[in-house]
């Protein structure tokens, strides 16, 4: 039995309804299955990987065999083992970067949209300045300035994502700030914090959730790109983008070294986008 205390509580729950509708989407379920597969691979890598990922375990540039299921790379390391271990870095870095970006972007968008005026003007022009940079150039600038490391990859991706998120949130907030429920909160003397966090934030959950998923796919892809450019995990640690890069030079000898990590990356990005599409359907009120 619910008591009256309840309506002092939080917002109307959103996730259960979305998950229910996600369950009805076949494409969404397929995406979820692929993501689950990679999550399990990352978690179970120490037990299922046949060899240590950085050890030279056989002849170089071999195709698949019973000993090396996905072949070996240019130094004679097992591609399957490196692939499984490499999952960990992608699945850790992409969500971290996106989560940081969403939190900062949403806060900027809420404040900018609600307060308006000069504050909004200044913030949004800075935003535009950041958006004007080609994303890849922004990544390179930030990593060049801070030095290549996993932390700086996260920072670069987060920084490049913040302006877009702030813009989305600001747009929703601007359309809401003259509505009766916001005016009423102002008239009863609610604090700025209350209006932003309790009245407005729940109303940007839907666009934010969909944006998070779309951005997660993009961030995954970006991490692959940065790895390919040699800006990902420092060698010899396994990194999907780095594996593609080292394989490219041996394409004529063995395509496996390139194809395997590339396909893995593509499958993860497509799977996340499938979930995002299903969420977008489900998030409609």
């Amino acid at each position: 039995m619910r008591t009256l205390q309840h309506f002092s509580g939080g917002a109307v729950p959103l996730l259960p309804a979305i998950l229910r509708r996600l369950g009805r989407s076949k494409a969404g379920l397929l995406g979820a299955a692929i993501v689950l597969f990679w999550v399990l691979a990352a978690l179970l890598a120490p037990w299922v990987a046949p060899y240590p990922p950085n050890n030279l375990v056989g002849p170089a540039t071999q195709g698949p065999s019973t000993l090396f299921w996905l072949g070996t790379d240019d130094l004679g390391r097992d591609v399957l083992s490196r692939l499984l271990w490499g999952t960990r870095s992608v699945l850790l870095l992409a969500p971290t970067a996106v989560l940081i970006a969403e939190i900062i972007g949403a806060a900027i968008g809420l404040a900018s949209g609600y307060l308006g005026g000069l504050f909004d003007q200044v913030i949004m022009r800075l935003n535009d300045a950041l958006i004007a940079f080609p994303t890849i150039l922004l990544y390179l600038l930030i990593i060049a300035a801070l030095g290549p490391s996993r932390v700086n990859v996260v920072l670069a991706i987060a920084t490049a994502s913040i302006p877009g998120i702030a813009r989305i949130v600001r747009g929703v907030v601007v359309s809401l700030r003259k509505r009766g429920f916001v005016l009423s909160a102002q008239m009863r003397g609610e604090s700025l914090w209350y209006i932003l966090a309790i009245e407005l934030l729940p109303n940007v959950r839907r666009p934010l959730l969909v944006d998070t998923l779309l951005r997660l796919g993009y961030a995954t892809f970006s991490i692959g790109t940065l790895g390919f450019l040699g800006l990902g995990a420092p060698p010899p640690d396994p990194d999907w983008g780095g594996m593609v890069n080292s394989g490219v030079r041996w394409l004529s000898v063995s395509a496996w070294m390139t194809a395997v990590p590339a396909i893995a990356l593509a499958s993860l990005v497509v799977a996340i986008n499938l979930i995002a599409d299903a969420f977008e359907e489900g998030a409609r009120p």
């Binding site: 619910r2 008591t3 009256l4 205390q5 309840h6 309506f7 002092s8 509580g9 917002a11 109307v12 959103l14 509505r179 009766g180 429920f181 005016l183 009423s184 909160a185 102002q186 008239m187 009863r188 003397g189 609610e190 309790i198 009245e199 729940p202 109303n203 959950r205 009120p285």
Partner: protein, 695 residues
């Protein structure tokens, strides 16, 4: 009997939805005779619009239809797609709700009209233009050639409505179906659109089906009326019969909900209809109205009564029609209201308040728009002051300025005799407790993502100073005071009706026992029965707490019902002010008079002659010299109106009119058309008219 253009027999329409079969029409039998104006009236959700679309054979793929609908002896429901296309527009044309949505915003008006004409009659070029222009003239759109070059958003709501009507007439239909053509329009524009319908029927001989929840509009325009409830026709008859002698309790209850400007305030109280419409997904057991009916007896639960003729021009679906006939629609005496404002404490006063907007002109240059131009007013404790005027009169800007939501640009605002800042953010904390507001749009007054009771809860904490379990108790008490079950607080706002949401907004505003509540058009989007309910709860809270109300509305009937004082605004200025009885009995400012004459009374016997206002509201951004009303005034004197601002003249105790015409020469609005006055309820001994004139 004359030939029936439309013959509908036992028509049922069910919609297959996610939640099951929705019964939109539950067996409707009806004839529309060539040349008549038939009014279709009822609350939202009664099946009016479905009936309208059935006449076009356009019910959507999920509709399950039973019964017969014939147009000129041909079954609409059995037509092929090609036959339907041939019929629509040329035999039956529909004017859909909200004309703004019916026009394509990305195409010029002329192109849209030409396209429709080409589809119907293959006319092109100069011939087409000539046809369109003559039709636009017929619907009184000035300068048709120029209008055709313009975009839909450049027209006013009234012009858009005329345009959509013209568009529907391009195919020369025999039957014109209008769905809520006056909803959302100002009274002056509404009156003009209704006049237009009468003219079209006379000149073009077109048969009209007018769907509306506005009983006044129906009474003014229609020959015959059908009253719908829960997908059924519960009463049918000539307009004179239905409005004077309703024989179904639903019709009677609806009529009692309508606030009347022709009755003194002491003679009317909002009388809401209790309960809700029956569940549209459930089958009916017994009479559909029984659970809300004051006349219901045990036999009413047996079956839905058939629509049976009770006289030559009247049919009703009620087993107790004879008993209902015995009680005519009579004003119920309300509580006597004491108005002795002289010694009461002043709650709010504004002096020379200005609100200006900087606007960018469409063709270069900018300007200053004075939304509020030196308005002064004061409000005593417990007093209800109504601010009336058309849209664009500045009444909502005035409300926002007093509330501090849109800070004023000049002038002074005193609350409780203390000068307060223009901006809400910079006002002292006590003002929030002192002054609260109820907003216009019920769809956005509650946060869609939070529980419905949440904002009352917060208001009780912040303004009522309650803590702990006292919050719950006070919230529950407030909800009960506006007639809501306290468990409603847990529901999502989207699960509540408009009336329920607006009642929560009222409870929230009264949470801190404010001295002054501003109500900005709070009932404009609600059905009459719901409106009566909302007004009744507002009034009971206001009286119990001795709160002052600043009630902003364009509905003069509601004003008559609740206001002590009236302020009439035009283009940001006050053109008349005074005690309600004085304003309703006159003499009046020419603008007030036009407003009063435009109101359609729900009594065909009391329709007044009205002089339509010339043209639309002038562009408020233009610089004004002289009287703001000069461009539309039917009594314009001459150059003095153009050059000199009119003086504020006294027309009696606290009644003042801003006009160059001396008060003695201004008319009283109450000029019934000679010969048409038939007293609605002579037996009751209450003469509606003497009630007003005697004030």
């Amino acid at each position: 009997m004359t030939s029936a253009l439309v013959d509908i027999r036992a028509l049922s329409v069910d919609y297959a939805t996610h939640d099951g079969l929705l019964h939109a029409l539950r067996g409707v039998t009806l004839e529309i005779v060539t040349g008549e104006v038939l009014g279709i009236v009822g609350e939202s959700g009664c099946g009016k619009t479905t009936l309208g679309y059935a006449l076009l054979g356009d019910l959507g793929p999920n509709a399950r239809v039973k019964g017969v609908a014939r147009l000129n002896e041909r079954d609409i429901l059995a037509m092929t797609r090609a036959e339907l296309i041939a019929m629509r527009g040329r035999r039956v044309a529909m004017v859909p709700q909200s004309p703004g949505d019916a026009l394509n915003p990305a195409r010029k008006i002329g192109d849209q009209l030409r396209e429709v004409l080409f589809v119907h009659s293959r006319l092109k070029g100069a011939q087409a233009t000539a046809r369109i222009c003559s039709l636009l003239e017929k619907v009184h759109i000035p300068n048709p050639q120029a209008i055709m070059q313009r975009w839909p958003h450049e027209l006013s709501g009234g012009q858009q409505q005329r345009l959509v009507i013209a568009m529907a007439l391009l195919g020369e239909p025999e039957l014109l179906v209008l769905d809520e053509p006056t909803t959302g329009l100002d009274v002056t524009v509404e009156a003009a659109v209704l006049d237009l319908l009468a003219e079209l029927r006379r000149d073009l001989g077109v048969t009209i089906a007018l769907i509306s929840h506005n009983l006044g509009a129906i009474a003014r325009a229609c020959d015959r009326v059908i009253v719908m409830y829960a997908g059924l026709i519960v009463e049918a008859g000539t307009a004179a019969e239905i409005f004077a002698r309703p024989r179904h309790p639903y019709t009677k209850a609806l009529l009692e909900c309508v606030p009347r400007i022709d009755r003194a305030r002491s003679a009317q109280q909002p009388v809401p209809i209790p309960g809700n419409l029956p569940n549209p997904f459930a089958a009916l057991s017994g009479c559909s109205f029984a659970n809300r009916c004051a006349y219901a007896v045990f036999d009413c639960l047996a079956e839905q009564p058939a629509l049976l003729p009770i006289s030559e021009h009247h049919a009703a679906a009620c087993i107790r029609w004879a008993d209902i006939a015995a009680e005519p629609v009579a004003p119920k005496p309300g509580e006597a209201v004491q108005i002795s404002s002289t010694d009461r404490r002043e709650v709010m006063r504004i002096e020379e308040l200005d609100v200006t907007y900087h606007v960018r002109g469409t063709k270069g240059g900018g300007g200053i728009l004075k939304a509020i131009d030196a308005v002064s007013l004061d409000l005593a404790q417990g007093q209800v002051t109504a601010i009336v005027g058309e849209s664009g009169s500045g009444k909502s800007s005035l409300a926002s300025a007093i509330a501090g939501l849109r800070p004023a640009d000049a002038g002074a605002i005193y609350l409780d005799r203390k000068l307060v800042h223009w901006s809400l953010r910079r006002r002292a904390g006590w003002t929030r407790k002192f002054l609260q507001m109820v907003f216009q749009d019920h769809t956005s007054t509650l946060n869609p993502e939070l529980g419905a009771g949440r904002s009352i809860d917060r208001a009780v904490r912040l303004l009522g100073g309650a803590r702990g379990s006292a919050v719950r108790a006070r919230t529950a008490e407030l909800m009960q005071k506006v007639g809501l079950d306290p468990t409603t607080a847990f529901r999502k706002p989207s699960e509540l009706s408009g009336g329920q949401r607006q009642r929560i907004a009222i409870a929230r505003a009264f949470a801190g026992r404010p001295e002054l509540v501003i109500c900005d058009e709070i009932t404009s989007a609600l059905d009459v029965s719901i409106q009566a309910q909302v007004i009744a709860f507002l009034q009971s809270l206001q009286r119990a707490n001795g709160t002052s109300l600043l009630f902003i509305t364009h509905d003069l009937g509601v004003v008559r019902q609740i206001a002590d004082e009236i302020i009439v605004m035009y283009l940001g200025t006050v053109c008349e002010r005074g005690p309600a009885d004085a304003v309703f009995s006159g003499p009046n400012h020419p603008y007030t008079q036009a407003l009063l004459e435009s109101v359609a009374s729900p009594d065909p016997a009391l329709q007044r002659k009205h002089r339509p206002l010339a043209g639309p509201l002038p562009d408020p951004a233009e610089r004004r010299i002289g009287c703001p009303f000069k461009t539309r005034c039917p009594k314009r004197l001459g150059t003095v109106c153009d050059t000199t601002g009119p003086p504020l003249r006294s027309a009696g105790d606290r009644h003042a009119i801003r006009c160059h015409i001396p008060v003695e020469e201004l008319d009283r609005h109450w000029t019934p058309v000679a010969g048409t006055h038939i007293s609605a309820a002579p037996k009751n001994g209450v003469d509606n008219i003497s009630g007003v004139i005697g004030q």
